[in-house]
């Protein structure tokens, strides 16, 4: 049986594993964490249809429930490309060999502390979009650090995205619509609250995104203000004072919020560093993995090594799933074309 090793058990890795396994390939998922699912574990509901992330994850895991070999808590120590394919040395004296490797190690979330002037980690009522999802997931009433039901909540777009000073000139693509989704969720929980989104541009590029944006305005009364945040401070009562510029009126503005949500962006994963070095992969100017060709976004310059998902740039889950399915065709084609390939047999062995 020809074999594939998938490094990373998030959305892309799970979807590709299920599809490759059904095509008859021997698949091993190598996951760094204890649990599968990656970023899905941090999320409550997904845009644009508000599908439960737990439900999506359960579906993906169900697809790999038979015939896929799982290695969790894995630390990759060495990867070798040889005539037989790939040999991956993992902690606890384990070795995986495979004819092809798919990298689906994902992305990092921008560390909001780096925008020092926004006060994340210092002012108690400054949180990130990831923190807000955790709050939604907890099922508890939505309150601020003082235990008070927030009357006015602000969302700041593009925190660590399209920001050269933060080292991320790229657009993170998913935060605009996430903010709209989260604003609606807040309004549903707290209908009398005032929810304001401070945006640079609204990039509602996907199908149903524009409808969601209009729904937020017309049905839920979410307010949108084209503005940039200059700095945030804490008031004596713990609320957050923000200083912004309304970029349509070209006027500075100051207001107090009970909760400030920073829409943190997507950036290249730091932990990939060793793996990238081991495989001698190149990074693009934006730090994401360089692909061989814009029109074949899964191929790397190394034969048999493929990428999918957030490792090659910000993507929606819809795009990630589509890419994961597409890459299985590429991998299948690659493996079928190499006859008498010693690496077609997969071994997972104790050393």
């Amino acid at each position: 049986m020809k074999s594939v090793a998938i490094i990373g058990g998030g959305v892309a890795g799970l979807e590709a594993a299920g599809k490759l396994s059904k095509q008859g390939f021997a698949v091993t998922i190598i996951e760094r964490d204890e649990h599968l699912g990656g970023r899905l574990n941090q999320w409550h509901a997904l845009f644009p249809d508000r599908k439960s992330s737990t439900e999506l994850l359960s579906g993906l895991i169900k697809e790999i429930s038979s015939g896929v070999n799982l290695i969790t808590n894995a630390r990759i120590l060495e990867v070798e490309r040889n005539d037989d394919g790939f040999a991956i040395k993992i902690n606890n004296n384990r070795m995986v060999t495979a004819g092809s490797v798919l990298l689906t190690t994902g992305f990092d979330i921008f560390e909001a502390e780096k925008k020092e002037e926004y006060g994340y980690g210092i002012y108690e009522n400054v949180i990130t979009s990831v923190d807000l999802e955790k709050m939604f997931n907890s099922g508890k009433p939505l309150v601020n650090a003082q235990g008070k039901t927030p009357a006015r909540i602000g969302f700041i777009h593009c925190v660590g995205s399209r920001d050269e000073k933060a080292g991320n000139p790229h657009c993170s693509k998913v935060c605009c619509v996430t903010a709209v989704k989260q604003a609606i969720e807040v309004k549903e929980l707290l209908p009398s609250s005032e929810v304001i989104l401070f945006y640079m541009d609204l990039r509602m590029f996907g199908r149903h995104f524009e409808e969601l944006y209009k729904d937020a305005q017309f049905r839920h009364g979410v307010q949108f203000m084209r503005a940039r945040l200059s700095e945030a401070f804490e008031n004596p009562d713990g609320s957050v004072q923000i200083r912004i510029e309304d970029t349509l009126l070209s006027k500075p503005l100051k207001m107090s919020l009970d909760l400030l949500v920073l829409m943190v962006g997507v950036q290249p994963q730091k932990k990939q560093g060793n793996l990238v070095d081991m495989l001698k992969l190149e990074r693009d100017a934006d730090g994401f993995i360089k692909i061989a060709d814009t029109y074949s976004p899964y191929k790397t310059k190394i034969p048999g090594l493929f990428c999918a998902g957030g490792i090659t740039g910000p993507k929606t889950i819809e795009e990630t799933l589509a890419e994961a399915r597409a890459v299985t065709v590429e991998i299948g084609g690659y493996l079928r074309n190499i006859e008498n390939f010693a690496g077609q047999e997969q071994y997972v062995m104790e050393l």
Partner: protein, 370 residues
């Protein structure tokens, strides 16, 4: 407020600060605003802490204010600064201690410029040699004098008979700290604690037992802002900047303000008087203002120097209520005695702001031991 978040950030903004053998360069404006501040710094550095600090009367302006007001070209500024470095070399020193924040920012800017454009450094060497026949070495260590006080803060605290504790209530004094713009806003990594949550003064306050007040307009300009004051037509803007800060800090009831720039203490001090005259409004205890210190004045005060030797009588806002709170002995009668104990005259009383011993009955104060 999560203090651990600030502590984490402070760790990222640390720098090397020399501990001895300094060449001290003074500030033009401070010697006029608060003339004793630099002198008391030299005294406690030499007398109390036993440090060696050199000076040279041939030292001149760094041209900073002229440079930032666009009246002195950068090449001239660099040549003047190169001459200061040359004076430092003459004294056999490698550690430059800078009194003024604008000078510190300017020296940092020039060293960064030379680092990135060595040809400009070469050109400056040529200009200096042609103009004066002098040569210079780049300082091994460049520090603002408040950096040095920060570095020595634990030594100062250990020798200090007084702390930033209210000895009547036993509670820490609430302190507003204000950093000069040119300290770290241009080069955050050259300032202790960075630009957004600077620690250079907060660290001194921590060491002395005080409590820092972080108020909404903490980062707002003190009111100097060069052109806000230097251009006469803009002075209303200068005043409104300071007032915005006073209004924002007022709910926290600060006991004192500490600064590290020549301009900040001047404007935060003088404008309190102006606000009181214009609006009848004061921000301190019982009709007094909030006393405004420079870092050296505060260090000297806790080290036990006489408040009038430090020059606290040259401030618009009176320090007497604070001296009482800190349990510092002082003689109100000697406040207006100048050199050789000659009476220098008492300023006219403001219409609204209380000054001197107004409202203070010192004989009834019960102090707590610290």
């Amino acid at each position: 407020m999560k203090l651990e978040g600030k502590r984490k950030l402070w760790q990222e903004y640390q720098k090397e600060i020399a501990t001895d053998n300094f060449f001290y360069v003074r500030s033009c404006v401070r010697q006029n605003f608060f003339p004793a501040a630099e002198q008391i710094f030299l005294r406690f550095m030499r007398e109390t802490l036993g440090k060696t600090v050199h000076e040279n009367p041939g030292h001149t302006t760094c041209t900073g204010i002229g440079y930032h007001c666009d009246v002195v070209p950068f090449n001239t500024t660099m040549t003047v600064v190169a001459r200061q470095f040359s004076l430092m070399s003459d004294a056999g020193c490698e550690n430059l201690a800078v009194s003024c924040i604008t000078s510190f920012g300017l020296y940092t800017e020039i060293l960064e410029t030379w680092h990135h454009f060595p040809e400009i450094e070469e050109k400056t060497r040529e200009y200096l040699y042609k103009a004066t026949g002098r040569e210079f070495k780049i300082p091994k260590n460049l520090a603002h004098a408040s950096d040095i006080v920060y570095k020595l803060r634990n030594e100062i605290a250990a020798r200090a008979p007084f702390k930033l504790i209210n000895r009547i209530t036993g509670k820490p004094l609430k302190v507003v700290e204000h950093i000069g713009c040119h300290y770290s806003k241009m080069f955050p990594h050259k300032g202790i604690g960075g630009a957004e949550y600077p620690y250079v003064l907060a660290g001194l306050v921590d060491a002395l037992g005080g409590e820092i007040v972080d108020y909404p307009e903490r980062r707002h300009c003190c009111g100097f802002g060069f052109r806000q004051y230097v251009v006469r037509a803009n002075r209303g803007y200068s005043l409104s900047c300071s007032k915005k800060k006073f209004d924002s800090m007022e709910p926290y009831k600060p006991d004192l303000i500490i600064t590290n720039c020549p301009g900040c203490p001047y404007f935060l001090d003088r404008w309190q008087y102006v606000v009181s005259e214009m609006e009848g409004r004061t921000y301190g205890d019982n009709g007094h203002g909030i006393p405004v210190f420079t870092y050296e004045e505060l260090a000297a005060l806790v080290l036990g120097y006489d408040p009038w030797e430090i020059g606290l009588q040259t401030h618009q806002v009176s320090f007497e209520p604070l001296l009482v709170k800190m349990g510092i002995p002082f003689d109100p009668e000697k406040k207006y005695l100048g050199k050789n104990r000659e009476y220098i005259g008492r300023p006219a009383k403001p219409n609204f702001m209380k000054i001197d011993m107004d409202g203070i009955k010192s004989s009834k104060i019960q102090y707590q031991a610290i």
